[in-house]
Symmetry: none
Subunit: 239 residues, 2 copies
Amino acid sequence: MARSEQVFALYEKIKKSVVKDIESGKLKPDDKVHSETKLARIFNASRMTANRALKELTEEGRIVRVQGVGTFVARPKPGAALLEIKSIAKEIADWGGVHSSQILVLKQEKVKEEIAQKMNLNPGDAVFHSIIVHKDKGVGVQYSERFVNPKVAPHYLDQDFNKITPSEYLLQVAPVQEAEHIIEAVNCKRQIQKHLKIKPDEPCMSLKRRTWSFDMVATYSIIISPGSRYKLVGKFIRG
Amino acid sequence: MARSEQVFALYEKIKKSVVKDIESGKLKPDDKVHSETKLARIFNASRMTANRALKELTEEGRIVRVQGVGTFVARPKPGAALLEIKSIAKEIADWGGVHSSQILVLKQEKVKEEIAQKMNLNPGDAVFHSIIVHKDKGVGVQYSERFVNPKVAPHYLDQDFNKITPSEYLLQVAPVQEAEHIIEAVNCKRQIQKHLKIKPDEPCMSLKRRTWSFDMVATYSIIISPGSRYKLVGKFIRG
DNA sequence: CGATAGTAGTTGTCTATACAAGTATAGATA
DNA sequence: TATCTATACTTGTATAGACAACTACTATCG
């Protein structure tokens, strides 16, 4: 059975176009978005239709509109309007606008007992292991460690994680079906303290994540520098 | 200077009118709301204006629209569907099996500036305030502070919170539509340290929660004793 | 130089109209 | 009776135009 061609309303097309420009990086936060008039002209639509598209994007928190001035790409605040659980990882990934990442570890290794249990593997099986420090303007803000089941993402090691974050890559490759998060306040290890420039005894937040893609598990563990709150906004779904 | 009379847009007036009918009980769940055409006639507006009003009320979850049939008052579903975000609070409430609670504060008071802002109230308005320590086998594990808009739960103060937790009670009374969580690692105040028997400099986790029930806000803030992890399991929603 | 007025461009609201798409009902038809 | 059809009503989308409110900028005036 051929999948029927989805018909999108015109205002949906305009929305998608703007969102695409934002997500592709063509439009960056605070950049000016085309005005209603211009969008209407581009899409051969009326201004009201462009207005509807932009109004909805405003409600979704992707753009900000100022009367008399224009429309601008919203800064990705932690806690913009994203989705449920997924946003924990996504928001933190986006958080603050990560400019660079320092790859400390990226290799295949034999999985140790403790991790093997969590991942439904046998000790000694191969896993991909990565440790990455995400930096914002040179300052470390996230220390993330991952163990990935090779079956989930066979080409994990070949990626250039300066260009795409592991989160983004894995989301592309493997459909996440279920996730478990453990949030914890901790005093972190000296090595991590160094990377994030945390003082001893300064409380920081740890987020551990296990995701299931079919029967395969990936684990993800990040330490977030202290003082930085993490805000999570979720809309309830009715019905 | 006298506060200038707020000028409301026409679509806002229509929205208010419908909301008023719902809240006054004139319109009950599943009742049919006037059609766009009829509302337009009543308010001497165009159908597009009535359409906007109803569309926004749909997004706010107050009405349900069915093409070709009509518009109906939405049934307030008191959190029956267990969704992701909500479970944060629920899990924490259930966490560890709380055996007893110690009520430190449970009274009506005048809201202070800081809280008023968060709750869309004016300073000096009445709020219900409660501070409760939840104990597991005599040991404090949670320190929770709440500010509740009296309009949300007029009988909040009359409850026996040894029998039912505030979370449970509020879920029964008011349908939560939207929630915002802020998770943070903190060093908490001495008073709270005492209740939870935390050593100074021991990192603990703070969870602040704001929930919206229509336009009314309740805030909820808990401190969770250190070492205790909080586990959150969520299923992804596809699409 | 500083203040003012004008102007162009933008978003916000609103109208009147049109057609598409979906549903329910009554009436006609096989 | 069962099925189809026409119709009336509803919501969904889209247009073209209008005016209001606001901002940023330029030119002018004192």
